[in-house]
């Protein structure tokens, strides 16, 4: 085999090796997959949004507040999509309570314009008035929801 062919193949292998490395890096570049960090919408914007919502929502609660526990003072705006509460980082309200499950409680707007709570089979339960709740429990403004040592409340 001629010297020239061998040299071409030799350099070709080096070029292809680096081409492979670069295509791997290229595939990896668009790959910040998994989780992404977003800025949470400010309460001001959340209040503007309900303009299109039914009357009852505008009159109903606007935010969920933590009134006891390590996150005391935190509020999360309520919107039509409902929200998920738990220790899992993708929940809307991420609890740092050892008694909370990963996906613990779901709040959602019922068809009648009222807010409801679903306990998502949490290990230690969700309590309202010292009663462990199941799914579809209706919430009023000021109802205290207890998860471990955290107490949550709907606020207008």
């Amino acid at each position: 085999m001629s010297e020239l062919t061998l040299n071409i193949i030799r350099l070709g292998i080096l070029a292809l090796l680096w081409a492979f490395v670069f295509s791997v890096v290229g595939a990896l570049r668009g790959d910040l997959y998994g989780t992404r960090v977003l800025t949470r919408s400010t309460p001001g914007r959340a209040e503007r949004a309900p303009g299109r919502a039914p009357r009852s929502v505008r009159r109903g609660p606007h935010s969920l507040a933590v009134v006891a526990g390590s996150l005391r003072g935190t509020t999360v705006p309520l919107n039509e999509g409902g929200l998920l509460i738990g220790r899992n980082p993708e929940c809307s309200l991420v609890l740092t309570d050892d008694y909370a499950s990963g996906r613990h409680l779901r709040l959602y707007l019922g068809p009648d314009g009222q807010w409801y709570a679903d306990d998502l089979d949490s290990t230690n339960g969700t309590f309202i008035n010292n009663q462990r709740i199941g799914t579809g429990h209706r919430l009023e403004v000021g109802t205290q929801i207890r998860i471990g040592q955290t107490i949550l409340e709907l606020q207008r």
Partner: protein, 458 residues
């Protein structure tokens, strides 16, 4: 205030297939190059190699589509390329040694590769959730220690070139330390997930360092004792460094305390120093490291390797045209020097990049994983590959004394190849779990959820 949401990731399986075929193409071109340069003909076993490589790797790709759709798409192509290049270099050294077709080391290596890939597929099919391994934490400890001690047993233990690392049963020799590496990583991950709070929070501060309590030092001392035992009884500096380094790195990742690294490194240095004073085989290694060109040295392996790498220069001599076979163990311990001679600095850096990317994918998997056990397991597996490369390449470029560790995916030897394919399969399983959208999780067993406490999970 920020919030973290997951979104549906691309599975990347098509990217994987394209890159996989690219990798196989490079391997086959290298194979043709070796045949043309050495025998002036297209190698006769090209079709068989191509068929086996394609069937098994594409088979693993299909298993991933079936059972681990979201697994990291870059692990398989990188591992395939490294494994294939290793096969080509081993074949090239077979030609140089004048072995006939029946006794090629390369054909055995090809069979081991096929077996390794099949085992990787088996791991992915049978192990649906890596957190199941956590249930066997202490069994893993016992099994790992037993595997490490096996070569010291009188009948089946087997000594080669001064290191007692092999067992030999019915004509097959096996290096149990390679499997022990995986099993012990499982143990370290399970153990540290359970105890990291005690290890990271308790203790006094001294000179800006958080010092652990005396009783929490126990496990570290046990790991240190084991690594010194390997050093003394099996005369293997490499595995000793690998196990202890792995444990210290995982301890650091679990606790975020720099004090563990400082304590671990000083313990290791003290142990290595004492071993150097006491044991002649360690003294030989150090002597060869400090002065490889000494004419009265007991071995000229390091010197020959350096000369070979120098001969390769920037672009290399080309596959099949250098003299890597003049070095001892050119197809196992010194395979990296063989590549350096024939592919040159440019080629060798591409290969180091491939390892760096492999380790990076492992660590990325650990970052993406939502629970502590998966994080620590992925970190440990990725770190063990990285540390192994450091010990091997550092040894032959005279950064540290030369030790007899295998180069992952490249070295001739079945146990190492199988162990590395299993490591890649475990990383694929963990990354599948890490990237899978919440709605598609297979298990939501709260018992398996280890993200209970802050610390690593943050």
């Amino acid at each position: 205030m920020t919030t973290i949401t997951t979104f549906r990731p691309r599975t990347g399986r098509t990217t994987e297939l394209v890159l996989l075929l690219f990798a196989i193409g490079i391997v086959l071109l290298a194979h043709v190059n070796v045949g043309l340069a050495v025998n002036d003909e297209i190698p006769p076993n090209l079709r068989l190699t191509a068929a086996l490589l394609i069937v098994f790797t594409v088979g693993l790709h299909l298993v991933l589509r079936w059972r681990a759709k979201y697994a990291d798409p870059l692990l398989l192509p990188i591992a395939t390329l490294l494994n294939g290049l290793g096969l080509v270099m081993i074949l090239r050294l077979d030609y140089a040694a004048g072995r006939d077709v029946g006794s090629l080391v390369a054909s055995r290596q090809l069979l081991w590769s096929a077996l390794g890939i099949a085992l990787a597929a088996g791991v992915i099919i049978l192990l649906r959730d890596h957190r199941l391994l956590r249930r066997y934490t202490y069994i893993a400890m016992v099994v790992g220690f037993l595997l490490l001690l096996l070569p010291m047993l009188p009948v089946i233990g087997h000594e080669e070139n001064g290191s007692r690392l092999w067992i030999r049963i019915a004509g097959f020799s096996f290096q149990p330390g390679e499997i022990a590496k995986i099993v012990l990583t499982v143990f370290f991950a399970g153990y540290l997930v359970a105890t990291r709070d005690a290890l990271s929070l308790v203790g006094r501060r001294f000179l800006g360092l958080q010092l652990p309590r005396g009783r929490d030092l126990g496990p570290l001392l046990a790991a240190w004792g084991l690594s010194v035992l390997i050093l003394v009884a099996q005369r293997d500096l490499g595995s000793s460094l690998l196990f202890f380094g792995l444990f210290v790195a995982m301890l650091y990742v679990a606790t975020e305390r720099v004090s563990w690294i400082i304590i671990g490194l000083s313990l290791f240095c003290a142990g290595a120093f004492v071993a150097w004073r006491l044991f002649p085989h360690v003294q030989t290694r150090v002597q060869l490291w400090l002065d490889p060109f000494d004419p009265s040295a007991s071995s000229d392996q390091v010197a020959k390797g350096l000369m070979g790498m120098g001969h390769g220069g920037l672009f290399g001599t080309g596959l099949g045209e250098g003299f890597p076979h003049l070095t001892y163990f050119a197809n196992s311990d010194y395979i990296f020097a063989s590549f350096a001679e024939e592919l040159g600095l440019i080629g060798i850096f591409a290969m180091l990049m491939l390892y760096a990317l492999l380790v990076e994918r492992g660590l990325r998997t650990a970052i993406g994983s939502r629970e502590g056990f998966g994080k620590l397991l992925a970190t440990g597996l990725a770190f063990s590959i990285g540390l192994q490369i450091f010990v091997v390449v550092g040894g032959l470029t005279r950064v540290i004394p030369l030790t007899g560790l295998t180069t992952p995916f490249l070295s001739a030897g079945g146990s190492s190849l199988i162990a590395n394919w299993i490591i890649v399969a475990l990383l694929m399983r963990i990354s599948d779990h890490a990237r899978r959208p919440v709605a598609e999780r297979v298990t939501d067993d709260p018992e398996l959820d280890t993200s209970t406490h802050a610390g690593v999970a943050r």
